[in-house]
């Protein structure tokens, strides 16, 4: 499963505890997600 597919599957999961727990157990998703989050750069950051 690609990260994009994982993101699509995770849409709305934060609002349902059971699914949230399943996703939390998927360390690969969370690890990759954290790595992606760290790469996020605001477009405005380049030209503030």
């Amino acid at each position: 499963m690609t990260l994009l597919e994982a993101i699509e599957q995770a849409i709305g999961a934060e609002y349902f505890n059971n699914e949230m727990n399943l996703l939390s157990a998927d360390m690969q998703y969370n690890d990759i997600l954290q790595a992606s989050t760290n790469k996020i750069v605001s477009l405005n950051e380049t030209f503030p």
Binding site: E14, S36, P48
Partner: protein, 266 residues
């Protein structure tokens, strides 16, 4: 006959794309995009018939005004080459992204056909996550640097949001060292203990937004990132004008008062 659609992807990756926007991306002859998340880029490339990133243009110049002009020009040129062109921006396509809006106005002013579709901005996320109603006591938002350099007055009785506080007074990608100047400015309107909130919307499904409450005096020592916004809750509403109630023919007994937030006033 050509048509331009300017759309926004929302803030939370893929999750905030409206059904309307998805259909336009899928059906347009070509899709241009300027978004800040790689998975969103992959999603657009997967869904569109033909897509192209605007990153190369965006990062081609050191001057923001030149870059925006180049993007506008490129959009207009591409519009003339295909029957339907879609341009995707991160968040809402007309919020802090005027190059697309200029293209829309330019095309429409010359008899063309360009539309902007609504999308979820960070402001919408803030309203939801902080559970505030901008219709209750009003709402004022402004870029933090613009607030100071134009000495814009603040209506402290309204909800206030300051954008781009991390780039306050900077010209490049460095973070501001001038938060103390902003705090001094805000102290003209609020007491030092007035609550404030550093807000960052969630960028991915399952993530939570950053909601960090503190007080005005501690803003200087609060961590601020490139996507941080500053929310300031309103001081209590003032007295109702009997003059204008009379002029409007309103009965004070039937007038629904705004709620009174539990915040001290200066």
């Amino acid at each position: 006959m050509h048509k331009l659609f300017v759309v926004g992807s929302g803030i939370k990756t893929v999750a905030h794309i409206t059904e309307e926007t998805r259909r336009v991306i899928q059906n347009a002859d070509k899709v241009l995009y300027l978004v800040n998340e790689n998975n969103l880029k992959r999603w657009i490339a997967r869904e569109a018939k033909d897509s192209e990133s605007l990153d190369a243009i965006y990062f081609s110049s050191n001057k923001r005004i030149d870059t925006y002009h180049q993007i506008t020009t490129y959009i207009v040129n591409q519009y003339k080459k295909v029957t339907s062109l879609c341009v995707v921006f991160y968040g809402h396509p007309t919020v802090f992204a005027d190059s697309a809006l200029k293209a829309v106005k330019l095309i429409n002013s010359t008899g063309g056909d360009a539309v902007v579709l609504p999308a979820i901005s960070s402001m919408d996320c803030l309203f939801s996550d902080l559970q505030i109603d901008p219709g209750d006591q009003g709402f004022f938002s402004i870029d933090a640097t613009e607030l100071l350099i134009y000495v814009r007055p603040i209506d402290a009785r309204s909800h206030v949001v300051l954008w781009q506080i991390s780039s306050l007074g900077t010209y490049d990608s460095t973070y501001t060292q001038k938060v103390n100047v902003l705090v001094d400015y805000l102290k003209k309107y609020y007491i030092e203990d007035h609550p404030i909130c550093i807000y960052e919307a969630a960028l991915y499904p399952t993530q939570k937004p950053r909601i960090e409450w503190t007080t005005l005096i501690y803003l200087i020592s609060t961590k601020i990132s490139s996507i941080s916004s500053l929310y300031i809750p309103p001081i209590p509403q003032g007295k109702i004008s009997s003059k204008y109630l009379t002029l409007l023919g309103m009965d004070i007994g039937n007038f629904q008062l705004s709620s009174q937030p539990d915040t001290p006033s200066k």
